[in-house]
């Protein structure tokens, strides 16, 4: 996939991936050589329910332009119910971010199984594309990080 790269903008994108499904899905994308932009950096967490809203806000504070959380499909959580909690938490958090005027495309949750390398790659491509279209995150970054 090609991304319109005429601007200087290189987004910083944090992807939290659960160890059992999505991180493995990302591994599969890798071993299948399914590309996605290098702007995406993955942080491994045991489960999507490990992701504290604080982590997401912190990423934005420190200058991330997009944050995506990937976990097992609902019902397939390695820990049975972690992603159900994550789903409610993230829904509310994203709603709040939208409410205070953060563009809602900057946050996303996708369920990617260990077998879905193709989906992982496609998801990252579409997310990065969205972040490019939104441009730099100026509403949440801490100004002190700019100097």
């Amino acid at each position: 996939m090609s991304i319109n790269n005429n601007s200087e903008f290189k987004p910083k994108i944090v992807a939290f991936c659960c160890n059992w499904c999505s991180y493995a899905g990302a591994d599969l994308a890798g071993s299948s050589r399914l590309t996605y932009p290098a702007d995406v950096k993955i942080i491994r967490v045991p489960c999507s329910c490990r992701v504290n809203p604080m982590f997401i806000l912190r990423a934005f504070e420190k200058g991330a332009d997009g944050v995506i959380l990937c976990g097992c499909h609902p019902g397939d959580c390695h820990y049975t119910s972690g992603n159900f909690y994550a789903r409610r938490r993230m829904t509310l958090l994203f709603s709040m971010l939208d409410y205070i005027g953060v563009e809602n495309g900057r946050t996303r949750v996708e369920w990617v199984s260990a077998a879905e390398g193709v989906k992982f790659s496609a998801t990252m491509n579409s997310f990065v594309e969205k972040i490019y279209s939104l441009g730099k995150n100026v509403r949440l970054e801490d100004l002190r990080c700019k100097n």
Binding site: T91, L93, Y99, L143
Partner: protein, 326 residues
């Protein structure tokens, strides 16, 4: 009020309670303070009127550690907070004797002053026995009568109802004060464009001085060590920087109390900068109601809290983008 004092004296005298948690008259008409009373003499200073807005339930955390029972006066809205604290094992029901006190709407001196009044030296018409239709305000610069509702806290105009969720007995009459829709302002903000929303909150939050009054008064914020004071989380904050830190504090605070906040309105009451902090909490309450079914924290001690439960069919987070008007 006299009835309350008489009853408190009785309960102290017969040993049912060891102390009374209520409000003590201030040195100005409008500044009574939360107080503990341990004897009849002290109770002479007991007061309960329109200016007793403070929610006493959080004081019960400390009172639960004391010997003997504490008589606690709870307004209808305070009783939700009390019950939520019970649910979270923060207070001991056995240590409390609850008198549910009537409520005809609580007053906000800043709102009274916003009626063009300066140098307020006296306010009458705010006793529980009054009909609470009109306030007579005496000031250094002349007297004025204003409708009671014009001096009321915002929260009282969207009152959850005058029913006590928990109490051992009730004293005093209540009067319905609800005139507005609780989520009207939240809905209005939701209608704004993304840039307008951002500007709105940016402007409001730029006033924040990080005094932590909102947090410290909040009955849901009862952590022994707040994450924003803790070195363990790498998230300690103190500075009032006019950038993201404020938002982070208020969003996380609202998130931490989501599903637990009873919408008692204390945060907005105490904010020295008049930031409508309830707009954060109510946003979560509105979302929870709309997405996961009506839920009122503190109303039912057995109910499963929305953030510690789930159903398979829950909406996906993508619903946010679908619903967003911006």
């Amino acid at each position: 009020m006299q009835e309350l004092i008489t009853r408190a004296k009785e309960l102290l005298a017969d040993g049912t309670v060891a102390r009374v948690l209520g409000w003590k008259a201030g040195d100005l008409e409008y500044n009574p303070q939360p107080a503990f009373f341990t004897n009849e003499k002290e109770l002479e200073e007991f007061v309960y009127n329109g200016f007793c807005g403070a929610n006493l339930s959080k004081y019960m955390i400390e009172a639960s550690k004391l010997e003997g029972k504490t008589l606690i006066c709870l307004k209808p809205c305070d009783s939700y907070s009390f019950q939520q604290l019970m649910k979270e094992h923060r207070i001991d029901r056995e240590k409390a004797y609850i008198i549910g006190v009537g409520c005809k709407g609580k007053l906000d001196i800043d709102r009274i002053k916003a009626n063009g009044l300066k140098g307020v030296t006296g306010v009458t018409g705010a006793e529980l026995t009054d009909d609470c239709e009109e306030l007579c305000v005496t000031t250094l610069y002349g007297d004025k009568k204003i409708p009671y509702a014009d001096g009321m806290l915002e929260r009282c105009s969207v009152c959850k109802g005058k029913e006590h969720m928990i109490c051992d007995e009730q004293i005093g009459e209540s009067k319905d004060t609800k005139t507005g829709e609780r989520f009207a302002k939240v809905a209005a903000v939701e209608e704004m464009s993304s840039a307008e929303k951002f500007a709105f909150f940016q402007k409001e939050l730029s006033k924040c001085i990080r005094c932590n009054a909102c947090r410290n008064v909040c009955p849901a914020c009862s952590c022994r060590k707040c994450v924003f004071d803790s070195t363990k989380f790498d998230s300690a904050q103190k500075a009032n920087v006019d950038s993201f830190e404020e938002k982070m504090f208020h969003i996380i605070r609202a998130f931490h109390v989501a599903g637990r906040c009873t919408d008692c309105g204390e945060c907005s009451r105490v904010c020295p900068q008049g930031i409508p902090l309830h707009l954060f909490n109510r946003k979560f309450i509105k979302d929870i109601n709309e997405l996961y079914g009506e839920y009122q924290a503190g109303a039912d001690i057995e109910a499963k809290a929305p953030l510690t439960s789930y159903v398979f069919e829950d909406v996906e987070p993508s619903v946010v983008a679908e619903r967003s008007k911006s």
